[in-house]
Symmetry: C2
Subunit: 225 residues, 2 copies
């Protein structure tokens, strides 16, 4: 096949995976720092998150370029082609997670300027779940582990339920005491950003299942066939 | 090259473009209906949006499959390869726009259950801009029109500014009158969903510029080189 003239596809694929893991680690770090800034009321951590998106953006461009070159040079087939297509999508998801960390950091900065809402409710827990989903989704990609990918999908409902619960509790505060309106709004936005990070982890897990099985689990695709 | 045994790549590309336009039209329709439901206070329109995401989801899977087959069969190079890579990404963006239309419809449904906030401020205008950006971005893809893609990028700041303005005005209402807290929250969420639709149009425009010029304008990439 065309690949015989250009060897080392598997080697390049390993490098690609390593890059995606690196980018995932950076994205996760940023989410963790942004939420730690909220919990510790530490504005310097916010600044670090806001200032530090260059490495993720650079990796985003580099990984896209790698995928493009691997498609052009190796013309991969079947699972190898799906692995590259998935990498392109995962790369996009991870870049968005980096952006969401910035959105969280911006909301934290506003929040720190206000009187305290008594408690952060389930926001730290939402953050832990979102980070774990992201980590597991990337591990599932690297190891081609369908079970782990499925476990990520199952976690998404937990995160959605927590978001709804957080919204309900904060709304109660807002209705009771107008002083809490502005900080509660920021917490609502933060919980929504965290839920979206979970959505990106879900996207990645769905890509993993497609890559491994060639089965499209988005939109319960099996029902459509 | 490998393509000689499988002709018709350009023909398939035209079909792919037609499918993306069809999907974009559906996504735009749904956004328009969701915001019309808000303006006209028409819950039946909301139901139509909530019930009708099957066609978009089906196109999403079909387009992904088309891209995959075109890569596997034709092993395209250069601008043709970039056109397929872009289509994969645009497909993801359009599917998310469909999801955002649902998010808007859900918020409209809650909103209609509450006392009126006096006015919808700039939300209908935000919707018009977001829809126009989406349409222009897809036209730019189909026509490989860099100028039009650039015009979409320029519009994004307008949308961001309107979102900030809408937030500020609604916050004033909320602080003044606790009765407006719940409906204003829904309007804030709707304005954020519209802004994200603009972000997806921006992603598409950036993909168009990459496809045509092989130049990556994301993250001001030219500064990195």
């Amino acid at each position: 096949m065309a690949t015989s003239s250009v060897p080392h596809f598997q080697e390049e694929l390993e490098q690609l995976k390593a890059r995606l893991l690196e980018m995932g680690g950076l994205a996760e770090d940023r989410v963790r720092s942004a939420v730690k800034a909220l919990v510790d009321r530490d504005a310097s951590l916010v600044d670090a998150v806001l200032a530090g998106d260059q490495p993720i953006n650079q990796l985003h461009i580099e990984i896209d370029g790698r995928c493009f070159r691997m498609l052009a040079l190796h013309q991969p087939m079947a699972v190898d082609l799906r692995a590259i297509m998935s990498a392109v999508k995962i790369n996009t998801d991870l870049e968005r997670v980096g952006d969401l960390a910035i959105n969280i950091a911006e909301a934290v900065l506003r929040y720190l300027g206000h009187a305290l809402v008594k408690e952060l409710i389930d926001i730290p827990r939402m953050s832990d779940i979102a980070q774990a989903m992201l980590r597991d989704a990337l591990d599932a990609y690297v190891r081609r582990d369908m079970m782990l990918a499925q476990a990520v999908l199952d976690q998404d409902d937990t995160l959605d339920a927590l978001k709804t619960e957080v919204f309900r509790e904060l709304l109660t505060y807002m209705l009771r005491d107008a002083q809490t309106i502005e900080p509660a709004l920021d917490l609502i936005l933060i919980s929504r950003h965290l839920e979206r990070i979970g959505d990106h982890a879900t996207n990645i897990a769905e890509d993993v299942i497609f890559m491994v099985s060639a089965r499209d689990v988005r939109h319960h695709a099996s029902d459509l066939k």
